[in-house]
């Protein structure tokens, strides 16, 4: 019963896909083939991300993470957050588990938000792809707007939540 509840969302999407398949065969097959493609992507990228997280969690002491990215890490922390996010591989949903480990290790909240922002939009492999598909002018303009944008958004976002709410989120991360 508990298992069904946990997988409720997944089951609903499976049912919708089956309905698609029954109503419009072509569309249903397309949905399944796209899903299959995304599965492959997930199966490829997600395991190393979680394995690296396991290592990070066990080996890197909290004090070190706090020194480099915690409260008072200043510009160093911001730059590291951008670099780590930009060096990442994989879709955005891969960034959230990393954020959870960062929380456990005492990384400053704005730096976590900057990291998420960088992962979402300034990834280096993606940048190269963007440049070849849409041109250097397009890609560079976007990058130059995005880097300050990510930082401003991170500070803006954290100004919307209280200290208590942030503590609550950090506490929740302990159990994830």
């Amino acid at each position: 019963m508990k298992l069904i509840k946990r997988y409720q969302f997944f089951l609903i999407t499976v049912i919708i896909t089956l309905v698609f398949l029954a109503v419009n065969r072509q569309m249903g097959i397309k949905a399944i083939s796209i899903t299959g493609y995304s599965f492959k992507e997930m199966a490829l990228v997600i395991p190393p991300v979680f394995l690296l997280l396991g290592l990070l969690d066990v080996w890197v002491p909290r004090e070190i993470m706090i020194r480099y990215m915690g409260e008072g890490s200043g510009l160093k922390g911001i730059l590291l957050a951008i670099l780590l996010g930009s060096a990442a591989a994989g879709p955005l949903y891969g960034a959230f588990p990393v954020a959870a480990v960062f929380m456990k290790k005492g990384v400053r909240f704005t730096n976590i938000l900057i990291f998420i922002g960088a992962w979402s939009t300034t990834k280096i492999p993606m940048f190269l792809f963007e440049m070849s598909a849409l041109g250097a002018r397009f890609a560079f303009t976007r990058l130059l707007v995005d880097i300050p944008g990510i930082i401003i958004l991170a500070y803006l976002l954290s100004s919307f939540v209280s200290k208590n709410e942030i503590d609550e989120i950090y506490k929740k991360a302990e159990n994830l």
Binding site: T13, K30, A31, T35, S38, V45, I46, P48, L53, L55
Partner: protein
């Protein structure tokens, strides 16, 4: 390419970890598995949802929505399309290039690419699990609005 690198790095670090401390390495593996298993239901649901959405919103439909004369309405619509879809970059950029060729404007494509990467409506269940409802909603709304600034500047500089 970057995937292979990621695997090599992971493998090397695990080997180092194993030689240094077997117990800690086992602990790392258990932690990795636990956090993966924890988020797996949301991952699976999101991936299915992406398939469903993309079977409805194909490039033909999208390029109808964001034609050259679509103006700000087209920018907003392409922003919405980008926000609800989740397409891997190496599919998204060629798609965007194709849309440009089919008559979409740079400003519209700027909004599409930006929301595509920064806003994730379908991944919200995953995000909520880590950040809670309020922050997830706020982050996505702010990123959505920010994408219009990006679109405007790209329209000015590139278009």
């Amino acid at each position: 390419m970057s995937n292979i690198l990621l695997y090599i790095i992971t493998l090397m670090l695990f080997l180092i970890s194993y030689f240094k401390d077997k117990k800690k390495t086992k602990q790392a593996l258990i932690k990795a598995w636990k956090s993966f298993e924890n988020i797996l239901p949301e991952f699976l649901g999101v991936i299915m949802l992406v398939g469903i959405l993309l079977s409805v919103l194909n490039p033909q439909v999208i390029s109808k929505i964001i034609g050259k004369e679509s103006g700000w309405l087209g920018v907003i619509l392409s922003g919405i399309v980008g926000a609800i879809t989740l397409i891997p970059g190496f599919v998204a950029f060629p798609t965007a290039a194709m849309l440009l060729k089919n008559g979409a404007g740079y400003m519209q494509i700027g909004a599409f690419v930006s929301t595509l990467m920064m806003v994730g409506v379908v991944t919200m269940p995953v995000e909520t699990k880590y950040f809670g409802k309020k922050l997830t909603l706020l982050r996505n709304v702010l990123a959505f609005l920010f994408s219009f600034i990006v679109a405007y500047i790209i329209g000015k500089v590139v278009g």
